[in-house]
Symmetry: C2
Subunit: 376 residues, 2 copies
Amino acid sequence: MTFQLLHTDSGSKARHGLITTAHGQIPTPIFMPVGTLGSVKGVHFKELREDINAKIILGNTYHLYLRPGTEILHKAGGLHQFNGWDRPILTDSGGYQVFSLSENRKLSEEGAMFRSHIDGSKHFFTPENVVDIQRVIGSDIMMAFDECAPGDADYQYTKKSMERTHRWLKRGLERFDSTEAHYGYEQTFFPIVQGGGYRDLRIQSAETIAAQGRQGNAIGGLAVGEPTEVMYEMVEVVNNILPTDKPRYLMGVGTPANLLENIALGVDMFDCVMPTRNGRNGMMFTSEGIINIRNEKWKDDFSPIDPNGKSYVDTAYSKAYLRHLFIAGEMLASQIASIHNLAFYLWLVEEARNHIAAGTFAAWKAIMVKKVATRL
Amino acid sequence: MTFQLLHTDSGSKARHGLITTAHGQIPTPIFMPVGTLGSVKGVHFKELREDINAKIILGNTYHLYLRPGTEILHKAGGLHQFNGWDRPILTDSGGYQVFSLSENRKLSEEGAMFRSHIDGSKHFFTPENVVDIQRVIGSDIMMAFDECAPGDADYQYTKKSMERTHRWLKRGLERFDSTEAHYGYEQTFFPIVQGGGYRDLRIQSAETIAAQGRQGNAIGGLAVGEPTEVMYEMVEVVNNILPTDKPRYLMGVGTPANLLENIALGVDMFDCVMPTRNGRNGMMFTSEGIINIRNEKWKDDFSPIDPNGKSYVDTAYSKAYLRHLFIAGEMLASQIASIHNLAFYLWLVEEARNHIAAGTFAAWKAIMVKKVATRL
């Protein structure tokens, strides 16, 4: 994997770059649709390619390990062969899911014992076998196994957790460096900065992560309940330390406004379930602001969902029709909302790239950040 | 609306024809995907046009009357404008739903009082206002309001019910003939043959319906629990009476084998929720037989869903991947299954048309009827 830094904004720390992987190129800043179980909920891959223009999608190690399991994935020749997505895939390590989804998890220095949220069966994740699983999945970018401390964890807990995450990182890197890709193309491994909402821990963690000299770096443990200002402060602190010639991935973030603010702080990659999950509940992110399409005010508004929208659903369906589908509980409602929202997120980061390249990012961002947060 | 009879099979009563409506032409025999609430569940209209090649879809008067309601539909300029489907639409009258879905329904000579299955609100359907509602919906083909007697109803009940349906038909036709289309294009009205599983009642009803001289005729009250042989017998009896120069629509039927047998008996139009509803439960109809895709045997079968399938989902996704999506409860599973099954149904009737035109229908049907019913 390579990263070319193409433009740096003069009015902020925003950057525009280009990641090259075995499955194609990813212009940054980029948003990555979440395909937890190997599918982006409600969206065909054809639509991801042609209508949403997704450059890379996510899979999740915890979920894919449980279903379909590594045996099937290995037989298929990896996730790309299994689901037919031929562009890059990044896999989350499953650390977050072990702590948020499974019951009776038991943490030790060795790893995390957990029970499946599906059938209660017992499993054990270690920094090493999480690399092995991601080798089987065949993701272009794999993530280190980390403990994601709760947003309200105290200093001592967060420190201990961060230190363990660093020790786990060392073990994960050793396994990664001593093993080969299964399917003949290069995989890369991103370490993850932790440290909660504590400035000194974030500094310490960012220095540890930067020192690994890997091809990209991630920031985890944010957008887990802390105030937005704390998130921005931590990202700023961390980005002052993480190398500028490597992509920076802020995990699990966020709203359109969060994306713009963090792009201004020098973040290059984002993922979040918000466009699809909130979309399935009727929240539509548009170039003019946020729409709750279930609201009665849209019942006879026959205008397009978003007249500036780039996906075909924006003009093929009206607000009134989409509202009807939501009220009637029709599956098509979630499908339309997911395509629209993802296309909007991908449009937003594309616009950000264009404005960074043109030197107009700061002014554009100042206007957009208000627009996209407006409730229509 | 016009109907041209193009070919009649020499070895059976199968026919190939062409219906022309204000929204385009429909080659027969045809299968019509069901879009109860103004959307075919899990399927974009773009997919209906481009991948499934649907020529006409159904809407349901009962459901559309309750949601979004006639006020919205009228403001939109009819269902075509509301949902963006620019090909023909046929609307079921809602008779079946009044009797199967709503509670506390009360039948009188005047009409049917019923409570909404959604909020319990009270409504009254008459043969006249069901025409009015379908005028607002703007369907190309509207259906008479009928009582669909249960499949196990006794002779006396079925006879009385049929006679009322005939009286209701007269009232519906009067309303239809004395009103105009709202949106400037022609609508047509199909009467419905009833009479349960009773030969003499079916004869009486078919004669009454044929005598109306309408542009098309429907057969209702079948596939409601009676043995398949009874269905075929009743269709044969009725089709001996219904005029050959008008399309015949067998309502709510059925399996691929049912379609082939009834085509051989001279039926021209079909609708059924089976391809979408059973598809959402993992039943895949293919050119080689029926697949329960949830079955473990498909877990590492990476071959296409149906190598002969005509829709892009057939080759874009494998059996193993589709099984994974079903087991994991992913929405995409239902979407893929619905597109595949509908594309298969549309392919099946297209093949039937081709074989009728080529004079090879009887031989082809004899082979296909076994194939499509095989459990793989």
